[in-house]
C-alpha cells in the first residue's frame, strides 16, 4: 500500500498500491473487515464516464423540459382566451390578472429551464461570439420583456398592441430543451460501434504470480505476467505463448475464419477466443497498448476528425448567427415602418420568429454525426478509416490499383516446377539443389519459396559464395565452384547465356500464371524453375463487385508480363502494369492520376508505402496485428480484397448521408428564415407562428442526428455479419 485517501462527500476511496504485492480482492477484504461495504467506483474507463455524464445531462434536460411543459399549459390558456369555452367569458380585468400570473410563471421557465441558454449566450458574448444560445435567449427574453411592459403599461402602446406573448417564451424553451435531450439520446446511439469493439475485451484474467494462480480484473495484468488461458476463454491481453498449445479463433480481428494454431513462441492477441486447448502466455502489451485498444483509438480519432466538407460548414456557421441577428433587427425595422397595423406587434413577432427559427446547430452537426456513424460502420466490418478526409476522398475513387503479390494473391509463393534442358548434364534434383543453395541467402519471397520447396523434397543445400543480386534481373552466386545464375531474360543476356528451347518452356509456364526463372550453370542454360503464388479465393468476386460500382481495376507488379497477364485474366483485371520496379510504383500511380481520375492504391503498407502515399486514397491490406500502418488512409484489417469494396461502399453511403444532412440543414435555414422574415406575406398572407418556429428549430437537430443514425442500418455487399 502506498497511499490511501477517502473523500467522505462522494463516498469514494482512492488507494495507490503495488499490484505485485496486493490485489483488489485483498483491498476489498481489508475494508470489509472494518464493517464497510465496497462497490467499484464508476469505472475509470473514459467510455463509462462519458456515458454516465450523458445520462446525467439527459436527466437534467428532461427535468427542465417538464417544468417548461407544465407551465406552458396555463400560459397557453391565457394567451388564446378566445378559443376556449370558459376563458372566453373572462372580463378584461380577469384577463390582465391572468396575464400577470403568466408573467410570473414563465420567469422560472426562463431562468431555470432555459437558464443554460442565458448563461451560454452571456459566456459567448464575453468571447465576442454568438451561437444558438444567443438566438434562443434573445428571442425568448424579447418576447417576455415586451409582454410584461405591454400588460404593465398598456397605455404606452397603440391600441390593440397590448397583448402579451408569454406562450412564446414558455413553449419555445420547452421545445428546444426537449430537442436537446432527444439529440443527446440519438448521439449516444451513433457511437455504438465503439462500444461493440470494447465489448470484445475480456473482463478478467488468470495470472500466475509467485507460483499462485489468481483471477484478477484485466486492468491489473502487468507486462511480463504469465497468463493462463483455458478452453473456451477469451485471451485477455496481447502476448507470446510460453507453454502449451491450442487453436485460437481470431476472426473478430482478422476475419480469418479458420482457427490459428498457437505454439510456444507464437503471438496471441487480446479479445480472441481460445478453442479447445489450454496454454500459458507472457503478457507483452496490456491496457492502452493492446491491438484492440489501438484499433479503438484509431476509430475514435477518425470519428473526431474533420472532413473537408465539414470545415466548409463550420466556416459558414461561424458567420451565421450574427447574420441572423442582423436580419432580425432589419425585419423588425421593415415591419415597423411598412407593415400593417398594429405595426409594433407584427414587427416584434416577426423579429422574434427569425431569431427562433434559425438553427446553426443542424449545420454544425450534419457532418460529424454522419462521420461517427459511417466510420463506426466501417470498423464493424474490419475497415479502419483513418480520417474524415480519407472518407470523403474515397467516395470519388474511379480507379483502383492493386498490387499483385499479397493483395490479389496470397503472398505465399510455392515451388511448382523444375524443368531441365533436354540432354542436360544434371537431374532435376541437382539443378534444384544448386538454385536453392544460391537463393538460400536471399530474402526475396520467391527465393524463400524455392528454398522451402527444396527442403520439402529432402534436398540438402550447400553454402553459396559471392552472392550478387541484380535488381530487375536476377541473382548469381558460386556454389561448389560452379557459377549459378538465376533470373529473367535480361539476366541471361547479361551472363551471355543462349537459351534455345527453354524460352518456349518459360512462356508456357508464364501463361499458366506461374513465375518462371531461367537457371544457368557455368554460362550454359540449365533449366527453368517456376514458382506460383495462388490467387485469393475471393479476389475475382471482389473485382467483379468493383466493376459493378463503375470502378476500373488496375494490377501493378514487378513480375514479368506474361505471368501478370495470366493472373489478370484469372481475376478479370482491366489493365496490367507489369515489370514495374519497386521505386517506380509511385510514379505509375501518378501517371494514372494524370489521366484525371481519383486513384486508390491497395498494397501491404510496407513495401508499397510511397505508392500508397502518392495515391489519392491509400489502402493497406494487413493482418490483425499490423494495425499501425502509418502510410495508409484506410487500413483493411482482414486480408480479403472484399474489404476494398466495403470501404468504398461505406464511404459513398456516408458521404451521401452527409450531403443529405447538409442539404437539409441548408434548405431548412434558407427557406425558414425568409418565411419568418415575412417574404411570403405580400403574396400569400403567410406568416410563421413563433411556436411553430420553435418546434421546427428544436427538431431540426434531432432530424439531422436521426438521419445519421440511419447509416447504422446500412449493409455493405460483403458485410461482416
Amino acid at each position: 500500500m502506498l497511499n490511501a485517501a477517502v473523500n467522505v462527500g462522494t463516498q469514494e476511496a482512492t488507494v495507490e498500491y503495488l499490484p505485485e504485492k496486493a490485489t483488489l480482492a485483498q483491498l476489498h477484504g481489508a475494508i470489509e473487515a472494518w464493517g464497510y461495504k465496497t462497490r467499484p467506483a464508476i469505472s475509470e474507463e473514459p467510455e463509462e464516464k462519458q456515458r454516465a455524464e450523458h445520462e446525467r445531462e439527459y436527466r437534467r434536460l428532461m427535468r427542465r423540459f417538464w417544468l417548461a411543459a407544465l407551465v406552458s399549459i396555463p400560459v397557453l390558456i391565457t394567451a388564446y382566451p378566445q378559443f376556449l369555452p370558459l376563458v372566453r367569458n373572462w372580463t378584461a380585468e380577469t384577463l390582465r390578472l391572468a396575464w400577470m400570473g403568466a408573467a410570473l410563471l414563465t420567469l422560472p421557465v426562463l431562468f431555470w429551464s432555459g437558464g443554460h441558454f442565458f448563461t451560454g449566450a452571456w459566456a459567448a458574448l464575453k468571447h465576442r461570439s454568438a451561437n444558438m444560445n444567443t438566438l434562443i435567449a434573445t428571442g425568448t427574453a424579447a418576447a417576455w420583456l415586451y409582454s410584461t411592459v405591454a400588460i404593465l403599461f398598456p397605455g404606452i402602446f397603440p391600441e390593440g398592441t397590448s397583448e402579451p406573448f408569454y406562450d412564446v417564451a414558455a413553449v419555445v424553451i420547452a421545445l428546444v430543451v426537449l430537442g436537446q435531450a432527444l439529440e443527446l439520446r440519438a448521439k449516444g446511439r451513433a457511437s455504438e460501434a465503439i462500444r461493440k469493439l470494447l465489448g470484445l475485451q475480456a473482463k478478467t484474467a488468470r495470472v500466475v504470480r509467485d507460483g499462485q494462480e489468481m483471477d484478477i480484473p484485466v486492468e491489473e495484468v502487468l507486462v511480463g505476467d504469465v497468463v493462463q488461458v483455458r478452453p473456451g476463454e477469451k485471451v485477455p491481453v496481447d502476448g507470446v505463448v510460453v507453454d502449451g498449445s491450442s487453436a485460437v479463433d481470431e476472426s473478430m480481428l482478422t476475419g480469418e475464419s479458420l482457427s490459428v494454431s498457437k505454439r510456444p513462441g507464437d503471438e496471441v492477441i487480446g479479445a480472441t477466443m481460445n478453442k479447445t486447448g489450454a496454454f500459458k502466455f507472457r503478457a507483452t502489451k496490456v491496457g492502452k497498448d493492446t491491438a484492440l485498444a489501438q484499433i479503438v483509438k484509431m476509430v475514435q480519432d477518425a470519428q473526431n476528425s474533420k472532413a473537408p466538407i465539414a470545415r466548409m460548414a463550420d466556416t459558414i456557421s461561424g458567420y451565421f448567427v450574427p447574420v441572423v441577428m442582423i436580419l432580425a433587427v432589419l425585419t423588425f425595422a421593415v415591419w415597423f415602418d411598412f407593415g400593417p397595423q398594429p405595426q409594433l406587434v407584427y414587427a416584434l413577432v416577426t423579429g422574434v420568429t427569425v431569431l427562433i427559427i434559425a438553427c446553426p446547430c443542424a449545420l454544425g452537426l450534419a457532418t460529424p454525426m454522419s462521420l461517427v456513424a459511417g466510420i463506426g460502420k466501417g470498423a464493424e466490418n474490419g475497415i479502419l478509416i483513418r480520417s474524415g478526409e480519407a472518407l470523403q476522398t474515397a467516395q470519388a475513387v474511379k480507379t483502383v490499383v492493386l498490387d499483385k503479390t499479397g493483395t490479389i494473391t496470397k503472398g505465399k509463393p510455392e515451388l511448382t516446377d523444375v524443368v531441365i534442358v533436354n540432354n542436360g548434364p544434371m537431374s532435376n534434383e541437382q539443378l534444384l539443389r544448386l538454385v536453392a543453395s544460391v537463393e538460400s541467402v536471399s530474402e526475396h519471397p520467391l527465393a524463400e519459396a524455392i528454398v522451402e520447396g527444396a527442403k520439402a523434397r529432402g534436398i540438402v543445400l550447400a553454402a553459396p559464395q559471392g552472392f550478387e543480386a541484380v535488381p530487375g534481373h536476377g541473382v548469381v552466386a558460386t556454389v561448389e565452384a560452379r557459377r549459378v545464375a538465376i533470373g529473367n531474360l535480361k539476366m541471361m543476356a547479361r551472363e551471355g547465356v543462349v537459351l534455345g528451347a527453354l524460352e518456349e518452356q518459360f512462356r508456357t509456364l508464364a501463361d499458366d500464371g506461374k513465375t518462371p526463372m531461367y537457371a544457368a550453370v557455368d554460362g550454359r542454360a540449365a533449366g527453368v524453375i517456376a514458382v506460383a503464388d495462388t490467387v485469393k479465393e475471393d479476389s475475382a468476386e471482389a473485382i467483379a463487385a468493383l466493376h459493378e460500382m463503375g470502378i476500373e481495376v488496375v494490377m501493378i507488379t514487378g513480375d514479368n508480363r506474361r505471368t501478370a497477364e495470366a493472373i489478370a485474366r484469372q481475376v478479370n483485371v482491366d489493365r496490367v502494369l507489369a515489370e514495374v520496379l519497386p521505386e517506380d510504383k509511385a510514379h505509375n500511380v501518378h501517371l494514372l492520376q494524370a489521366e484525371g481520375k481519383k486513384v486508390a492504391m491497395v498494397g501491404d503498407g510496407i513495401n508499397d508505402a510511397p505508392a500508397l502515399a502518392q495515391a489519392d486514397v491509400g489502402l493497406a491490406i494487413g493482418t490483425g496485428t499490423d494495425v499501425a500502418i502509418e502510410a495508409s488512409d484506410i487500413t483493411l484489417i482482414k486480408g480479403s480484397l472484399k474489404g476494398v469494396v466495403t470501404a468504398i461502399e461505406v464511404s459513398r453511403a456516408t458521404m451521401r448521408n452527409v450531403r443529405q444532412n447538409l442539404f437539409g440543414a441548408f434548405i431548412y435555414n434558407t427557406l425558414g428564415i425568409p418565411v419568418a422574415m415575412g417574404v411570403l406575406y405580400p403574396f400569400l398572407g403567410v406568416l410563421l407562428n413563433p411556436l411553430l418556429a420553435g418546434a421546427a428549430m428544436a427538431f431540426s437537430s434531432v432530424t439531422v442526428v436521426s438521419n445519421a443514425n440511419r447509416l447504422r442500418a446500412f449493409k455493405p455487399k460483403f458485410s461482416a455479419k
Partner: protein, 125 residues
Amino acid sequence: MSSIQVIVTIVGIVFSLFIAWFFWFAPKGRARAAAGVGGAQEVAITVKGGYTPDVIVVKARQPVRLRFTRQESSTCSEMVLFPDFNKSARLPEGEEVAIEFTPERAGEYGFQCGMGMLRGKLIVE
C-alpha cells in the same frame, strides 16, 4: 414615415452595424504562450461557455502543450478539436487534459468544440 419610425429605422441600422463590428471586426485580446515543463510552450485554457483565452500565440517548430480544463456540464464542450493537426481530446468535467503537438508552419489555425459552437484560434508565428 412618422418620426418614431425614422428613429426605429436609424437605430436598426446602427444596431446592425454594431453587431457586425462586435462579432467580426473588433480586435480580440491574445494570450502568448509561456515556457512550461520540458521546454514546451504552455497555455492553460478554461472551458466554460467558451475558451478562455481563445486567441493563443505560439512559435512555430516548437512543441506546444495546451492544458484544457472544462468547468461546465453542457455536452457541447466535451470534445475539443484541432482539425488542422488532426488532434482531438475528450474533456471530462473538472479534469485537466493536455493536448500536445508541434506546429510546423506559421499561420492561423482554428480549434473548436465538436459542434462548432465554441471556437478559438491558434496563431503560429
